[in-house]
Amino acid sequence: MDSFFYLVMFAGAVAGASTGLLGVYIVGMRMPFIGICISHSAMAGTIYSILLGVNPVLGPVVFSALSSMSLGVVRPGRSRINANVALAIFFNLMLGLTFLGIGLMHGSRSEVLGLLWGSLLFVRKSSVVIIAISGLVFVVFAALFNKELKVLLFSRTIASATGVHESFVYCLFLALCGLVLAVNLPLVGGLMIFSLITCPAAAAYQICTGHRSVIFAATIFGMGSAVAGFLVSYYLDLPTGACIVIVSAIIFAVSASYRALRRKRN
């Protein structure tokens, strides 16, 4: 294997680990749609950065962080709108803005359309560093606010009623969600990122006991999906993104079957 592919594998592992960890909170809060919603915000941010000639990294980060934080206004018990319905409306808006931006572009649109499936095979060292830093920032956040995040996962209503600084921690979480998804977008793509957020975390929730083991398993599953998916695509000469998505779905299916068997035995 060419040494370049080790960098691709490493980039996939870092992206898989950070999205897997992020997925623990997104799936746990029953809002997996947030992944595809924010990644489309980032996509719109990238397109308008190109159109306006501003920094193509800063644009999507700011765009997705702002759009994810604006979802913080949907409060349990207060908002008349369900969080997932709000996400769906937001997703439609971002999709509209994205395609409007694409329509306004002149020349080749392949770079922009590549954001849908990502371009893992064209990874640069600088992108890996940025993804690793954003992942590390999220790890620090999750460690510092671990006790608050656990209550938020269990019930935002309880968190709010009992004096946990729910709004503050939730908005911070959404902003970091935007950051992690935006920097992963060019590499992983808007569609694949959705599967890397949901499948590893959902698989971990099936088989683990205790929050710490969920975090550990989801991170490993995310990393494993990316690396195994890449190896399958490399040796069988298949599309990388599709292989990663399928491997992550297989990990979920195996975990769900294992849990069902364990329950049957008990």
């Binding site: 006790k147 019930s155 009623a161 946990v164």
Partner: protein, 263 residues
């Protein structure tokens, strides 16, 4: 005389142009056990959520510990709510997550500790103490989702008590439980009230679930308080008949008041 820990004056909550709660005046004193009863859609849960600041009324003043909630910033309001132990209905928490029972009870210590501070040995001593007190020691390493409905309710009570609350608010803590568990859970709540002097506000559909320690009842009907006072006076057949629109006979057995529909 005991001080007020919660008061509502001239409170109105509207939803889609319709008034779903209108409370002219209501005070809850420290150490009281107040049962909130009423028909479906009477506004029981809304009243509880207004009391703990989860729903901001369209009009009126809600005071917690003599602080007007509407005048406080989100940060100060959160600090004030550290003393509220809240147990919502099952639809408002995610019972499917694989938190262990000990992790769940430890969540009660979250608001007691400042942001960025980790739980320490003393916190876990409090957690283990409440797990033991509620008879769940053997289940502490099991996941919350693997417990029975009654055990889950006990775990939620342990979580709320680990918070060392001054006021405990429970929204139908016995729904979906069999009659034996209903009895056990209400006995536990009464015992906690007696031993710790915590103020209890409990929403219930059934009058028989209000334990003998509950000395005050608030009867809601179509968002209004129909009766508020001594439980003996509120749970009178004539008073309940006005709310439930049927003929009612009250039976008292072992200190509990059972409602029988005679229509």
């Amino acid at each position: 005389m005991m001080g007020e820990c919660l008061s509502l004056s001239d409170v109105e909550v509207r939803w889609s142009g319709r008034t779903i709660l209108a409370v002219e005046d209501m005070q809850i004193r420290q150490g009281e056990f107040v049962g909130i009863i009423g028909t479906n859609g009477a506004g029981k849960t809304t009243l509880l959520k207004v009391c703990c600041g989860l729903i901001r009324p369209n009009r009126g003043i809600v005071k917690l510990d003599e602080h007007d909630l509407s005048e406080l910033s989100a940060w100060r309001k959160a600090n004030l709510r550290k003393h509220i132990g809240y147990i919502p209905q099952a639809a408002e928490y995610n019972a499917e997550l694989p938190f262990t029972l000990r992790e769940l009870v430890a969540m009660g210590r979250t608001s007691v500790k400042a942001l960025l501070r980790r739980l320490n040995k003393e916190d876990y001593e409090v957690v283990d103490n409440w797990i033991e007190r509620l008879g769940l020691s053997e289940r502490r390493s099991q996941t919350f989702r693997s417990l029975s409905g009654g055990e889950q309710q006990k775990a939620l009570i342990a979580r709320a008590m680990a918070q060392d609350p001054e006021i405990l608010m429970l929204d139908e803590p016995c729904s979906n439980l069999d009659f034996n568990w209903k009895y056990q859970i209400t006995e536990i709540i009464e015992q906690l009230h007696r031993e710790t002097k915590v103020t209890v506000v409990m929403v219930s559909h059934e009058t028989s679930l209000l334990p003998s320690g509950c000395k005050r009842a608030v009867l809601l009907h179509e968002g209004n308080i129909l009766a508020d006072g001594d439980i003996e006076e509120v749970l009178e057949s004539e008073v309940l008949e006005r709310a439930y629109q049927c003929r009612i006979e009250m039976l008292t057995l072992a200190g509990r008041r059972y409602t029988v529909n005679k229509s």
